[in-house]
Symmetry: C2
Subunit: 424 residues, 2 copies
C-alpha cells in the first residue's frame, strides 16, 4: 500500500503488565495503519517499503489519555487550593458555561488541541461541555489534528447552577440525540461517547434515558466514580435506594457489561464495588495528578491490576495540569509509593514497567488493539529524541525509557503517528 | 555604580509566608548587587540608571535549592523503585565512587552545573562526594557559572562499602581540613559547608572532630534527618545512648544554635525533635519529590511553619529528578494535600503563596537577605516569559505566577541574576 512504511530505531513496548519488550536497532513495520510486528531484519515481503532511520531515538507506542476535560484546559494550573465540589462550583462550572459561545469554544478548544498534538498523547477520551455546538467544534478540531478520540457532550440536568444546567432530562436527551445525529458519520477518527457528568449532575430520568440511548446506539459511556469523600456522601444522600456509588450507575445499566464504560478516579472503593468493576470489566481511568491537586486521595491501582480490572491513565485536565501521559506515569508511581507508605503496605508500589503499561496498552485496550507494536495493533507511535538529556555514561534503552517517564517534555517527541498517520 | 540597573515588569515577591506582593508594571532597582526596592516611578536619585523593560514578563526572586547532591545528577530519573537504604547501596554509592576520578567528576559536574544555570535556581546548598579533588572541581564550576552556592565535601567513615568510605575518622578530618585550606579565599560566590552524610555514615569520633572544626572555623553544617523508618531504626541501633535521631546530631553540637544547620527531609519527627529544631533554629530542607520517589513519607511542613522553624525547599537531586524549585513548590503543595487527606486533617495543606515563600524567602534566609525584592535583599532575580502558555482569557499577575509553579520549565526563564550578576 502506498502509505506503508518502516521505522528503524530502539523499540520498546509492553508485552504484559510487567514485561517490557526492548528491541535495539530493529524495525517496526506499518501496513494499512497497523503494526506488522517488530523485526531484527526486514522480512522479504516488506523489502520495498520506505525505511525511516530514527538513528539512536526511541520508538514507543503512542500514549492514551483515558480521561480529560477539554474545556478546562483554559484554567490549567490555576485555582487548585480547593477540594472537588468547591472547585467545580468556583472554577469549573463558570468556565464551562462560557462554551455556550461558539466563538469562545473555538478559541479555547483550538489551544487544547494544539497542545495535545505536541504532547505524547495519540488517543484520548474527552469530556466536552453540555453544549452541542461547542462539542461539535471540539470534534472537528480533533479530527483535523489526526489524533484519535472519543468525545462526549456532557449531560447534566441538576446541580450545575443557573449557567451550566440543562433545563430537564428530556431537554438533555433531546440535545444528546441532536448531537449524535448531527455528527453521525462525519468523522473518521473521532467517535461519540455518552457522558453523564456524575451522579450529582444527573436525575434518574436522565440516566434512564441515557441507558436507553446506550442500548439503542451501542455507545460507550464515561463518568466519574468515588473521587472525594464529600462527593460520595452526597451521592448517598441523592440515591438512598442504592448501597454504594457504583450501584448508582449500575441500577441503570450504565456500568460496564454490555455497556463499555470508563470511570474516572475510583479512589474510595468498597469491596463489592471492586468486585462489580471486575465482573463488569469497567475501565478505571486513574488520574494521579488530579487526585493530588484536589486532595482527593490515592486510588488502589495495585488492587485493580491484581483483580484484572482494566486500567489506564488519565490527565484529568485541568484538575491535572499536565497533558503528558509520561508525567501521569511518574505521578502514578509516586502516588502508589505514598499509598504503600501511608495507607496500606500490603499493596506494593507500581513499577516503571507497570506504569508504562498503564499509559499505553492498559488504556489503549479501550480503543481496541492499541498501545503495543505486536502484530495487528494500530500503528500509534512516538519517536523520542532524548539526546539533549545529558548523561556522563552509557545507558541501556530500558533506562532511557525510564528517564523519559521522569524527564521528558514535548521537546523530546519529535514525531507522532496515529494508525500510521503522521500527526507531528 | 557602573553595574547598577533597573528592571521594569510585573514584579512578585513574598512579603510574608502568606502574603505575596504583586506590582504590575513597576521598577525594581539593583544597586551594588542589592535591591533598592520596588517603585511605581523611578526615584530621582536612580534616574540615570539603565532601565531594562521586560515588557509583560514576570520578575520574581531567584529560587533557592536547600538540598541537592551534585554527583547524583548523572542518574536522575533512574532506579527509583527502591527505598532509601537499598537505593543508596544499589545506585548512589557506586555512582559517587566514580568521582574519585577527576576526569569523571569534571565531565559529570559540568553537566549538572549547566543544567543548574538554565534552571530557576540562583542559590543552592550542595553535597559533593567524599573526594577532595572532585569537590574542588564542582566549586570551580559553580563559581564560573555565577551562581551562589554552599558546597560540602562529604564525610563518611563507615557503612559506605569498600569504594565509598574514608579509611578512618582521622583521615576524613584530615581531608576535610585539606579541602578547606586549598579552597580558602579562592571563590567569591561559593562557600564551604561541613557535610557529615548522615549518622549511619559517620562515627562518633568523626562527628566530634567535625564539631571542633565547626567551632573553630564557624562553618555551617548540612546533613539528613528522619527520612525513612528503616534509616531511623538503624540510627537508634547505632546510637543507643540518645533518645532520637536529632539528639544523635545535637550530642556533638551539630544541630543548630551557634552552628547554622540544614537538615534534609525531617519526615518522621518526634515531638521533642520539633521542639529542638525550633529552639535551635535548625533549617528544614523539605524535599517533596524525593520523599515520594523513595517512598519515604510526607514531612509535617505546616507544623514547621506554625512553629517558626525555618524551612525551605530542596530538589534532593537525584532522589528528586527535577532541578526546578517551581516544580518543588508544586510537589510540596501536592504532598501537603495528601498528608492532610491521608495522615492528619488538622494540618491544612500549603497554599500557593506559602509554597512560593518556601522556595524563595524561606530557603533564602540561610544565605542572609535573599529571596525577596525588599530593600537590602540580594538582587537575585528571574525574568519569566510565559507568553507561550496559551490561555483564552486575561489573567492577573498573581494567577500567572501560580501557573509558573505548575507549568514552567527552563524555556520560560529568559534571564537570571544573582546579586545583580547576569548568569543567564
Amino acid at each position: 500500500m502506498k502509505n506503508d512504511f518502516i521505522l528503524k530505531g530502539n523499540i520498546c513496548y509492553s508485552e504484559t503488565m510487567d514485561r517490557l519488550w526492548v528491541a535495539e536497532q530493529q524495525y517496526v513495520i506499518c501496513v494499512d495503519g497497523k503494526s506488522a510486528g517488530v523485526f531484527s531484519e526486514i522480512p522479504e515481503k516488506y523489502q520495498g517499503l520506505p525505511v525511516k532511520d530514527c538513528g539512536d531515538a526511541l520508538i514507543v507506542p503512542g500514549m492514551v489519555d483515558l480521561h480529560a476535560h477539554a474545556p478546562q484546559y483554559a484554567f490549567r494550573g490555576l485555582g487548585m487550593d480547593l477540594e472537588l465540589l468547591e472547585w467545580l462550583n468556583t472554577h469549573t462550572f463558570p468556565e464551562e458555561a462560557k462554551y455556550a459561545s461558539e466563538v469562545y469554544a473555538k478559541r479555547a478548544y483550538t489551544m487544547y488541541v494544539e497542545e495535545l498534538k505536541k504532547s505524547d498523547v495519540t488517543r484520548a477520551v474527552i469530556f466536552a461541555t453540555m453544549h452541542v455546538e461547542g462539542t461539535k467544534i471540539l470534534m472537528e478540531l480533533l479530527e483535523d489534528s489526526g489524533l484519535s478520540a472519543y468525545v462526549g457532550k456532557v449531560n447534566m440536568d441538576r446541580n450545575g447552577g443557573k449557567d451550566l444546567e440543562e433545563k430537564s432530562a428530556e431537554k438533555s436527551l433531546e440535545e444528546t440525540k441532536r448531537w449524535l445525529a448531527e455528527t453521525d458519520g462525519r468523522f473518521q477518527h473521532v467517535r461519540p461517547i455518552l457522558t453523564p457528568r456524575f451522579i450529582p449532575s444527573c436525575t434518574d430520568e436522565l440516566m434512564r434515558g441515557l441507558a436507553e440511548l446506550q442500548k439503542e446506539k451501542k455507545l460507550p459511556v464515561q463518568s466519574h466514580l468515588s473521587e472525594n469523600p464529600g462527593e460520595i456522601a452526597w451521592v448517598k444522600e441523592l440515591c438512598p435506594n442504592v448501597s454504594n456509588y457504583s450501584e448508582a450507575y449500575e441500577q441503570f445499566g450504565l456500568f460496564g457489561g454490555d455497556c463499555p464504560t470508563i470511570m474516572a478516579h475510583c479512589i474510595w472503593m468498597e469491596e463489592d464495588e471492586i468486585e462489580k468493576m471486575k465482573n463488569n470489566q469497567v475501565y478505571v481511568a486513574h488520574c494521579p495528578q488530579s487526585n493530588m491537586n484536589l486532595s482527593s486521595g490515592i486510588a488502589p491501582v495495585r488492587r485493580f491490576l491484581s483483580e484484572g480490572i482494566p486500567t489506564g491513565l488519565g490527565s484529568d485536565m485541568a484538575a491535572g495540569y499536565s497533558t503528558s501521559i509520561f508525567r501521569a506515569m511518574a505521578d502514578a508511581i509516586q502516588c502508589s509509593k505514598m499509598r504503600w507508605r501511608l495507607v496500606d503496605d500490603t499493596q506494593k508500589p507500581l513499577t516503571v514497567e507497570e506504569a508504562f503499561y498503564l499509559g499505553t496498552k492498559g488504556g489503549g485496550a479501550f480503543f481496541g488493539k492499541v498501545g503495543s507494536f505486536e502484530e495487528g495493533y494500530e500503528f500509534d507511535a512516538l519517536i523520542l529524541d532524548d539526546s539533549n538529556i545529558a548523561h556522563p555514561q552509557k545507558l541501556t534503552v530500558r533506562d532511557r525509557l525510564e528517564r523519559m517517564i521522569y524527564l521528558s517534555d514535548d521537546r523530546h517527541i519529535t514525531e507522532k503517528y496515529v494508525s500510521g498517520r503522521k500527526v507531528k
